[in-house]
């Protein structure tokens, strides 16, 4: 970033001078200078009502000379002494001004924080031992840092509704609410569904849903994420697991082409929750409920946990080990000409998996290759019409130009007996690609790998248990052309394997050695085969991804965010 010199403003923070772009909020300037200002209501993606008063700081401006008085002499850097204002200012909504002084650690600032903490806790139920937010509660955190440890509050506390059912996925405890209005602003400004509001006034102010409405929007769970306390909690997650017991993995959502950045919380190979992780080029700070809650099948009974081979009697499947299953597959596949083989892969696979799939296609000289498209209505926020996470990868790496275009040909080929063998990777052809069991029954050989039992597996000769998105690592290219990293959060159940491993072993069983031991190695080889990847290292992609290719897809929610930012309504 190269800022014009004139657009930079000098401010003094805790005695040191810094320069920041004009329009920077005081709280952001302090953060950039290394001083976190505690806050509750402020959220960079929402408007700033300045209501919690936690961010009050001591502030000063250049002295204003009285009539007849000379203005102060600037020092060699052009700074004049600061005249400190006896009234504290909120750092969240105010922008910096030339020669402004900010003290985040002064006696006045500390007194303000202590005072606000004491007042916030006055009517708080102090029920941390039974509160689900414990461990990630800003009230707890800041009261340890800035509270005075003892309350002078002796009165009866204000009683408010508890355990209020305000919608299908969110529960409200009004006694814990600190009335920061973040949830209200989110529903109004981001979700365009302003169903939340306050009723009553003063200390009796109560958060509620408007009469006749409920908080049922597909983005409702974001309110629980940004609620700084345990007032809004997720029905799905509450009381399931204390946050400090869980492992956090940064990965991406694979429910659509947007690829929302997420943090997955897991313990002992079980995922307890998924929350959005900030990425200003992808999902801002948000994600849809339907996507984050789409996790419960991962540890369900329906998971395939072992390789299965169709019994000699041709009817049932029996459990096999990997070696046997792969051996049997290789033997069967050798009997076919390339033209008789089709490979249907998935745009849910990573670039690395797609790369090695491409090698399998080559090895088999398979005549037909495609992936299964998934299309739905875009929601105008984050959910893309493309419900596959890596369509761009399938095009670029696997070389499928028009996803889904040859599915009908493959069906016909099978029906007419031209196609005799089918390898189906990470797809369920019957439920998701319009294949009939009858059609598949005509095949001489069907191999499928998938995380869940399904009708395609039912028809298959070989069924391989595949890892799901949370159980593997790799990269994907989202709808806007951004290369992002998928990171393994948990181990898959039983004998499940990642697709790149399955495909590698199949290639090996077919006689093609390759000596690949990890998805990262495959990533390194992508650069050799796909020019767009040339020179990119895995580390470079980082937690937030990098732009890889140009597409014409945009993310509507981000467009609106940019507008609000341009208007100065939000920091962004």
């Amino acid at each position: 970033m190269s800022e014009e010199k004139s657009d930079l403003i000098d401010v003094q923070i805790n005695g040191e001078w810094h320069s920041f772009p004009k329009g920077t909020r005081m709280i952001e300037a302090c953060r950039l200078a290394g001083f976190e200002v505690p806050h509750y209501c402020y959220h960079p993606k929402l408007t700033s009502p300045g209501n919690c008063r936690m961010c009050l700081v001591e502030m000063g401006m250049p002295p204003r000379p009285r009539p007849g008085e000379d203005p102060p002499e600037p020092d060699e850097d052009g700074h004049v002494p600061i005249s400190w204002i006896p009234r504290p200012a909120i750092a969240c909504a105010n922008t910096i001004a030339p020669n402004m002084g900010i003290r985040t650690e002064s006696e006045m600032t500390e007194e303000c924080r202590e005072g606000v903490m004491e007042l916030l806790l006055a009517n708080h139920p102090l029920d941390c031992p039974i509160c689900d937010q414990a461990g990630e509660c800003s009230l707890q955190e800041f009261s340890v840092e800035h509270g005075n440890g003892q309350s002078r509050f002796r009165e009866q506390k204000v009683k408010k509704p508890k355990n209020v059912d305000i919608g299908p996925r969110i529960r409200l405890d009004d006694e814990r609410c600190i009335m920061c209005s973040r949830c209200i602003r989110f529903m109004d400004e981001i979700a365009d569904d302003p169903v939340l509001g306050f009723t009553d006034r003063g200390s009796h102010t109560t958060l509620t849903v408007h009469p006749g409405h409920e908080l049922s929007n597909n983005y409702s769970l974001n309110t629980a994420d940004i609620c700084p306390v345990g007032a809004l909690t997720s029905n799905d997650f509450r009381f399931q697991m204390r946050v400090w017991f869980m492992k956090e993995t940064h990965t991406i959502d694979t429910n659509c082409a947007t690829g929302c950045n997420v943090t997955v919380f897991s313990r002992e190979d079980k995922i307890y929750r998924v929350i959005p992780r900030r990425n200003d080029d992808v999902n801002s700070d948000w994600m849809p409920d339907s996507h984050r809650l789409n996790i419960h099948w991962i540890d369900s009974e329906a998971r395939l946990t072992d390789p299965l081979i169709r019994d000699e009697d041709g009817k049932n499947h029996r459990v096999a080990n990997w070696a046997e299953a792969l051996q049997r597959s290789a033997e069967a596949l050798r009997d076919f000409d390339g033209g008789e083989i089709a490979v249907i892969a998935s745009a849910r696979m990573t670039n690395e998996e797609l790369l090695i799939t491409k090698r399998l296609v080559k090895q088999l000289n398979a005549g037909h290759v495609d992936v299964v498209p998934r299309v739905g209505e875009p929601d105008g926020y984050l959910i893309s019409a493309d419900r596959n996470p890596n369509t761009n990868g399938a095009k670029l790496v696997l070389g499928v130009e028009d996803p889904g275009a040859s599915l009908d040909q493959i069906k016909d080929g099978i029906a007419q007996g031209r196609i005799k063998a089918l390898i189906c990777l990470q797809e369920n052809l019957v439920d998701d690609a319009g294949f009939s069991a009858e059609n598949l029954g005509k095949l001489d050989f069907l191999l499928t790998s998938y995380p869940l039992a399904n009708p395609t597996a039912e028809a298959a000769d070989i069924v391989l248990p595949g890892a799901c998105w949370a159980e593997k690592s790799g990269t994907m290219i989202n709808g806007t052309g951004r290369l992002q990293r998928l990171n393994k959060c948990i181990d898959g159940p039983g004998q499940t394997r990642e697709s790149w491993e399955i495909v590698r072993d199949l290639i090996q069983a077919l006689g093609g050695g390759n000596g690949i031991y990890s998805a990262t190695e495959l990533f390194a080889q992508l650069g050799d085969e796909v020019s767009e990847f040339e020179g990119i290292t895995f580390g470079q992609i980082g937690d937030l991804g990098i732009p890889l290719i140009e597409t014409d897809e945009t993310i509507p929610l981000l467009e609106r965010e940019a507008e609000r930012k341009a208007q100065g309504l939000i920091v962004g």
């Binding site: 300045g50 919690c52 606000v116 007042l119 102090l126 509050f153 009165e155 009335m179 006034r201 102010t205």
Partner: protein, 461 residues
């Protein structure tokens, strides 16, 4: 002046100077436009419309008019804050929410002399180039709202409102908007939110100074009813002449609303600073009640800091007793209080100080909008403490806590309600600590009245 006749028993006191209240309680007077016109009504509008708008603002500045809504901010300076190259519509809002306890002046203007307000508003709108104005009237004044509606209709019919006013090309509509029944609707940015149809949550300043980003984020002037009426008289006399009324920097007349323990409570229009507190209480209001002593005065509405009856005040080089304090903006500020909204509340020695403070605290706890933490939580906390003081269930330490809570509100809130609710407590504790402590019991020191804090005190918190 002498030919003015007032209803028997309601004659102005000789020390009064009636300008704004000239027609209040006047014999033979009614609210109709005919009556108003016969008395010279709307002549000042005609005069003003021949002036340059900027010159009107200059006259108001020259007059030194200070807002009568509470803060005493110079009106001409406020008008001057309108952005010079503005291209958005400008709005003018008349603040008729009159809800500060102890204040009852605007309602008489509205009820008895509505056209004076309208004339003042049209002149002011012309000055600031507002083509749309609102009168935001307190919900509890239904009759006032009806009277204003009728007056607006009459003014319309006569061409004082609407399109092309008196052929000058100036257009203006005034609408009456009934308030939302809360004290905070009188705070100018809360009022604006309310007018926009929302909860009256005051806005943060900066950036939402009404003159720059007010109603619908357009430049907006908010003035009190009385303030806008004064504009008419400034046009009549000229700013310089008008400024000769009262004292320098404390110009004009102002309406004082005296309530509490005096013989003749009521409204009195006086030249600012022309009377001392003693003259106001003893001469104009007929003195204290029989055999009573002055305990305290709250001089500018319930949010003003209390003055102790037996205290002396250092003002410049002078040492003043409460009786000697001239009732002007600057002197009252120098005494550590304020002229505020003009509501003078007199408290004699028959009153319990704890009770008085508790009554004030109850009001503010009830009226806090609840938006910002210090005021929301602090106002009710202070009320609960004084509830216990009044009930004999408090300890001396509670008084210190009470003071500490007030200090934690003062200066740290979104709007001036924070000061409005904390200043009474601060000043009562500073000036009447012994009286408050006398109502407490040392043996109650460790009483905790909520189970949550008991747990916390036991070491869980």
């Amino acid at each position: 002046m002498s030919d003015l006749k007032y209803i028997a028993g309601k004659e102005p006191h000789p020390r009064e100077r009636r300008m704004i209240f000239k027609n209040v309680d006047r014999e033979g007077w009614d609210q109709s436009i005919d009556t108003y016109e016969k008395d010279g009504g709307y002549e000042m509008l005609k005069k003003a419309l021949k002036m340059e708008p900027g010159d009107i603002t200059s006259e108001v500045k020259a007059g030194g008019l200070r807002g009568r809504g509470g803060a005493g901010f110079p009106t001409g300076v406020k008008w001057g804050f309108l952005p010079p190259n503005n291209e958005k519509p400008v709005y003018l809002i008349c603040n008729a929410d009159e809800s500060e306890p102890g204040t009852f002046k605007d309602r008489y203007i509205i009820h008895q002399d509505p056209h004076q307000l309208i004339e003042g508003m049209v002149i002011s709108c012309f000055a600031v180039n507002a083509k749309l104005a609102y009168i935001y009237i307190r919900e509890e004044f239904p009759e006032g709202a009806a009277i204003l509606e009728k007056a607006i209709e009459e003014a319309h019919a006569k061409g004082y409102l609407g399109k092309d006013i008196l052929g000058t090309g100036f257009d203006l509509e005034i609408y009456v908007h009934r308030g939302a029944g809360a004290y905070i609707c009188g705070e100018e940015t809360g009022l604006i939110e309310s007018l926009e149809g929302k909860r009256p949550y005051p806005r943060i300043k900066p950036p939402y100074f009404p003159a720059a980003m007010g109603l619908y984020l357009c430049p907006t002037i908010v003035n009190n009813v009385e303030t806008l009426c004064h504009v008419k008289h400034i046009i009549e006399l000229g700013g310089e002449e008008w400024a000769k009324i009262g004292k320098p920097n404390n110009t004009g007349t102002r309406l004082l609303c005296v309530s509490g323990d005096v013989q003749k409570p009521g409204y009195y229009e006086v030249e600012v600073g022309s009377l001392t507190m003693g003259e106001l209480i003893n001469d104009v209001c007929g003195g204290l009640k029989e055999g009573r002593k002055l305990l305290a005065v709250i001089p500018g509405g319930s949010s003003a800091k209390v003055l102790r009856g037996d205290e002396t005040y250092q003002v410049g080089d002078d040492e003043l007793t409460i009786w000697d304090i001239p009732m002007d903006f600057d002197t009252l500020a120098a005494c550590g209080s304020m002229a505020g909204s003009g509501g003078v509340i007199v408290i004699d020695d028959s009153r319990s100080i704890s009770w008085v403070l508790n009554n004030i605290n109850a009001f503010y706890a009830h009226e806090s909008c609840g938006q910002c933490t210090p005021c929301r939580e602090g106002s009710l906390w202070m009320k609960k403490i004084t509830d216990r003081v009044v009930a004999g269930k408090a300890s001396p330490q509670d008084i210190d806590t009470l003071y500490g809570v007030a200090k934690n509100i003062d200066g740290r809130t979104i709007c001036a309600f924070g000061e409005a609710c904390s200043w009474p407590t601060e000043s009562f504790v500073e000036k009447f600590k012994d009286e408050l402590v006398a109502d407490t019991k040392p043996e109650l020191s460790d009483d905790i009245l909520n189970p949550e804090s008991e747990l916390a005190a036991a070491g869980l918190g």
